[in-house]
Symmetry: C2
Subunit: 367 residues, 2 copies
């Protein structure tokens, strides 16, 4: 029995979690950089809650709200320079995967002189500012992983920096911040979390330990399929999805993702398809390939998902996603070639060749 478990982030989840745990904001120093996107942190109320907590400990703060979806390397360097100029002692990230992933790079670049050419070289980071993370979507799991995934223009894709320093110190989870999310974001982020959990479960690196988290996440998200479809989500449903996305995050912290995410990145990079949606679009095709080699694994997965077959799952996900994008065969070939460059492809529990990727994309977009 070989396993490895490491997830040092302290996770606190409750109603009004920031107010209940505001003393945490006094632990790491007197000056914070708040990293967030343009709107969502304000709209959901999380930014106000953080500012109130900081004020009650007389902590000064600078709000860096320039993080765009699929954040660039440049915005991370800009954030790091602001953190240094303002002598920020710690970083607070508020948002979905984009602000959180960017915040990790900002926290690291503020403490390490790294050339832009080396930004994706994980071994260049030896120190990092402390980080408090507040997710405002239930998908990414970034609050409990060592990954920062940024837009990589050199290689025309999204690329991950993986370093154990990148685990946030604290993750504060409150489902009330998801109440204002629209249906598309809610569905896409739920599908992202589902992909994390399923990819982890169907990874070569899956262990008896990682699957404790992935299986629980799969069951929880599947139990919300109906509510997602009707877009009728109580705060308890939102809590379940948030908790599941964090569990799914813990599972990929141990296994990383596999070919599904690899195939999702070109859809996002070249066609600007939302990250979670991109993964959701191609998920079932991977499962069909796995089913050819390991049918018992898919039987087990179907039980966790409470579906009778992959066709049933396909219907559920297709219904959630709605009309699919038009992608040409030429694009597909280019995306497949691009995908083959990513190392996570080899974590898939089956061997994946370029023609498999072409066929999977084609089944989704050319049928």
């Amino acid at each position: 029995m070989d396993l490895s478990y490491y997830m040092p982030t302290k996770v606190l989840m409750s109603e009004n979690v920031i107010e209940k745990n505001k003393s945490i904001f006094g632990i790491y120093g007197k000056s914070a950089l708040i990293v967030t996107g343009r709107n969502s942190a304000r709209a959901c109320g999380a930014l106000d809650d953080v500012i109130n907590a900081l004020k009650s400990y007389n902590i000064s703060y600078y709000i860096f709200d320039k993080i765009m979806p699929n954040p660039t390397v440049d915005v991370c360097y800009l954030g790091a320079s602001i953190a240094k100029e303002n002598n920020c002692d710690f970083i607070i990230a508020i948002g979905g995967g984009s602000p959180m992933d960017a915040a990790k790079a900002i926290a690291a670049l503020a403490k390490n002189d790294v050339l832009k050419d080396d930004v994706f070289n994980s071994s260049k980071y030896h120190d990092i500012l402390p980080m408090i993370f507040i997710p405002t979507t239930a998908g990414t799991g970034s609050e409990v992983t060592q990954y920062s995934i940024l837009t990589d223009d050199k290689n025309k894709t999204k690329t991950s920096i993986s370093n154990q320093l990148f685990f946030p110190n604290i993750a504060l989870l409150d489902a009330k911040y998801m109440k204002s999310l629209g249906k598309a974001t809610t569905v896409n982020t739920a599908l992202d979390a589902l992909c994390h959990a399923i990819e982890s479960f169907l990874s070569k690196r899956n262990t008896i330990s990682s699957e404790i988290f992935s299986k629980e996440a799969i069951k929880l998200i599947a139990s919300e399929f109906n509510n997602l479809k009707k877009y009728d989500l109580s705060i308890e449903d939102r809590e379940k999805l948030l908790y599941a996305s964090t569990l799914a995050g813990i599972s990929i912290a141990h296994t990383s993702t596999v070919v599904v995410h690899v195939m999702g990145y070109p859809l996002t990079y070249f066609r600007d398809i939302d990250h979670g949606r991109a993964n959701g679009l191609v998920l079932v095709e991977y499962l069909r390939m796995v089913n050819d080699i390991y049918p018992s694994k898919i039987d087990e997965l179907n039980k966790l998902l409470n579906v009778k077959s992959l066709d049933e799952l396909d219907n559920i996900i297709s219904n959630l996603l709605g009309e699919k994008e038009n992608i040409t065969l030429d694009e597909i070939k280019m995306f497949a070639s691009n995908s083959m460059q990513k190392k996570n492809i080899s974590n898939s529990i089956i061997d994946i060749k370029e023609e498999d990727i072409v066929r999977m994309y084609s089944n989704v977009f050319l049928k």
Copy 2:
């Protein structure tokens, strides 16, 4: 949904885990204090494996092998003074719960000037030496908890110091170190782990997050009842028990133990009954009390244990424990009064009064 998760220890489990991960011994400095008991670390081969790893990184070491079962405060101060005299950079614990719990106190006392009267005051510890833990029994879970449980002569019991600094940095798990354990130690430590998991599950502080770990541990240990009884344990069985004890440790790191451990301490302090055995002796009595108030909780537990009733569980555990000690009613009354002083009693999911404790002990020892 309220939950809190924090377990920062890196856990690595494999065959020959020390040899495979020996670079870990080079991370924390040039001088180590090895904290262990008189014999077991040598007998099982773990000490030799550690020394080989240290030698390959030219790390000097001092072996402090004076830890007795149910370690005293004095032995921890002695260990800390040796760590300081030898300028040890980090601590390596090898053994069962006693060396591991003592090693945490030693690592803390080496970095904090704490008066003996304050040794159990958790707030006195602000820094600690890095710690690498190698369990040689599958029971305590100390390798993944923030607890150091020492003999407390002032209060005639065992008392826990709980501080988040006390989580070891690394836990290295290898079931081969358990192959040389005798039946009594194997059974008692397995029952200790089972009590951890069940107490956590039946704690007021149980959450959807802590029970991920406790439920898995309960299932795994129950699946080994037959092999424990026959004392026919393959290395795979040993691995299951070791993994389960670590999961159970993670669960009590979040909930702490309840009245079962509280009632076990006087049996150990006054009658020198092994810690795991002491807990195993009283476990089912607590379950019967819970069953009166929350029968559905016990139904769920019985399913996890794969037993039809608490009577069936009682038979299994009684068979494992063999003949019970003679304890007089006067002793029982004194133990009950002593138990009522412990704060963990209030973590039990049912209210426990002194007469309940007298009745539970009596049912075990006076029938």
